[in-house]
Amino acid sequence: MKQTGTFGFVRVARYTEAVEYQKKAESRALRLEQQLETSREQSRGWKAKADQAHEALKQVQKTAAETRQKLERAEARAADLQVLQQRLAESERALTVAREQLMAIEVKLDILEGAANVLDARTRTVLMRRTATERGAPV
C-alpha cells in the first residue's frame, strides 16, 4: 500500500496507473504544446501567404483595372480607326470622282481652247479682209 497525500492510501497498482496516466498526460500536453506551436507557426505562415495573396489580388485587381482601361481605350481607338477607314474609302472615292471630273474638264478646256483659237483666226481673217476693203487695197 502506498500512502498518498496525508489521508489516503491507494493500492500500488492504482498508484502506478495514476503515475502512468500523469506521464501520458504530460507527454500529451507536451505534444499538444508542440502541435500548438507548429500550428502557430503554420498560422503565421498562412497569414503571411494570405497577406501575399491579398497583395497579389490587389495587384491583379489594379492590373485588371488598367487592362480594362487599356481595352476601353483600344476599343475606342478601333472605333476611331473604323471611322477613319470609312473616311479614307470615302475620300478615295471622292478623289477618283474628282480626277474623273478633272479629266473631263481638261478635255473640255482643250476643246474650248481649240475653238477659241479657230474663231480668233476666222475673225482676224474677216476683219483683215474688211479693213483691206475699206482701205481700197486688193484683197
Binding site: R99, E100, Q101, L102, M103, A104, E106, V107, K108, D110, I111, L112, E113, G114, A115, N117, V118, L119, A121
Partner: protein
C-alpha cells in the same frame, strides 16, 4: 435634208449587202512619201487575197479634202489596180471645206477619224472594218472574214506588225510579209483590257453596233492620236467585248510615219501634227451628234460608185459640244476607266 436615224446608212444598196465593208481614207498629198504607190500596192494585195477567198466585201473609200492641184485617187485607182471591180467600190470625195470647218487644231491637216466616220456611216456591210491604206491583212484575219464566224457586239482587233521600209519597194507577197527577218522591231501584242496599239489600223465591228456607238469621236477634234483608243474605251463602257482576232496585220514602215517621227517633236509637242498625245483618251468618252459621219452633207454622184460630198454648214457638227464629253461607265468585272495623268 431630214436627219437620219442612228442606225440607218446614208446610202441604199440595191444588191445583197456585203459581208464586210472595208473603210479606208486617204488623199493624194504624198503623205508619208510615196503614199499613192504604197496605197495601190497594198490595195492590190488585199483585193487579191479577199477575192481569192470569196469574201463578199465592199471598199468604202473616203477621199478627204483632196488637194486641187493633184489628180484624185479615184481617177487613178482603177488603172493602178486593174483587177479592182468598180462594182465593189464606193468612193466618197469630201469637199476640203469640211476639214477647215471642223478643225479645232490647225496643226491637224487631216481629220482621219471624221473621214472614217463618213465611211462607217455609209457602209452597207454586215461588218465594218476600218483600216489604213498601207495595211496588209494577215492570213488569220482573211480566214476569219472568209469563215464568217464573227459575232455581233464584239470589237475585233488585230496586232500590227511593222515591216522594214524596203519591203514596200516591190510588190510584197506572203513570203516577204511573213518573213520574221523583215520585221522592223519586235512584233506587238494586244493586251487587255483595251487591246490598243495601232488601233487605227484595224477595228472590226458589226455595222449595227458601230452605228450605235456613232463611230469614232467627233467631239474632240483637237488631236489625232488617241482617238482610236478612245473608241475602245467607249466600247468597253458600253459593255462590248474587245477580242484579238488571232493574227496580225502588217504595216510597212515609211518616212513620216508616226512611229518614226514621234521623237522629232520631243520638247515641242505643241507643234506636232497629231496634237496633244497626252489627252485623256482613256478617261473620257463621247457622244457624237446624231448627224455624225457628215450624214447631212449633200451628196452628188460623179460617176457610178463615186460621190462628192458638197459643203454645207448644216452638215458640220457644232464647233463646241461639251455635253458630248462624258465619263465612261465602270462595269462590274470590267476595267476601271483610265486614271488621271498629269499633263505637265
Amino acid at each position: 435634208m431630214a436627219p437620219l436615224s442612228d442606225r440607218s446608212s446614208v446610202t441604199s444598196h440595191d444588191r445583197t449587202p456585203p459581208t464586210v465593208s472595208i473603210v479606208l481614207t486617204g488623199r493624194n498629198d504624198d503623205y508619208g512619201v510615196g503614199f499613192e504607190a504604197r496605197f495601190f500596192r497594198t490595195l492590190r494585195f488585199n483585193h487579191r487575197e479577199l477575192t481569192s477567198r470569196g469574201i463578199a466585201y465592199e471598199l468604202v473609200f473616203i477621199e478627204w479634202a483632196p488637194p486641187q492641184d493633184r489628180p484624185r485617187l479615184v481617177d487613178r485607182v482603177f488603172d493602178a489596180v486593174p483587177d479592182l471591180d468598180p462594182g465593189v467600190c464606193r468612193w466618197y470625195v469630201v469637199d476640203a471645206q469640211y476639214q477647215a470647218a471642223l478643225s479645232l487644231n490647225p496643226r491637224l491637216v487631216y481629220l482621219e477619224f471624221v473621214a472614217k466616220n463618213v465611211g462607217v456611216r455609209r457602209a452597207a456591210g454586215r461588218f465594218v472594218l476600218t483600216s489604213n491604206c498601207d495595211v496588209y491583212f494577215g492570213r488569220v484575219v482573211l480566214d476569219a472574214l472568209a469563215r464568217g464566224s464573227l459575232m455581233d457586239g464584239v470589237v475585233y482587233r488585230a496586232a500590227r506588225y511593222d515591216l522594214k521600209a524596203e519591203i514596200g519597194d516591190g510588190n510584197p507577197g506572203w513570203p516577204e510579209i511573213e518573213d520574221p527577218a523583215n520585221l522592223d522591231g519586235r512584233p506587238r501584242s494586244l493586251r487587255p483590257p483595251f487591246m490598243a496599239g495601232g488601233t487605227g489600223d484595224f477595228v472590226l465591228l458589226d455595222r449595227g453596233t458601230f452605228h450605235e456607238m456613232r463611230g469614232f469621236n467627233e467631239v474632240y477634234r483637237v488631236a489625232r492620236i488617241g482617238i482610236d483608243r478612245n473608241f475602245l474605251v467607249k466600247a468597253l463602257s458600253m459593255g462590248l467585248t474587245i477580242e484579238d482576232i488571232g493574227g496580225p496585220v502588217y504595216h510597212v514602215n515609211h518616212a513620216g510615219s508616226y512611229r518614226l517621227t514621234v521623237h522629232d517633236y520631243e520638247g515641242r509637242e505643241g507643234e506636232a501634227p497629231w496634237g496633244n498625245r497626252r489627252w485623256h483618251s482613256s478617261g473620257v468618252v463621247y457622244n457624237n451628234a446624231p448627224a455624225w459621219g457628215l450624214s447631212e452633207a449633200p451628196q452628188r454622184q460623179l460617176a457610178k460608185g463615186v460621190w462628192f460630198l458638197d459643203f454645207s454648214w448644216d452638215a458640220v457638227p457644232p464647233l463646241v459640244d461639251l455635253r458630248g464629253v462624258v465619263l465612261p461607265v465602270s462595269r462590274l468585272g470590267g476595267p476601271r476607266p483610265g486614271r488621271y495623268v498629269s499633263r505637265m
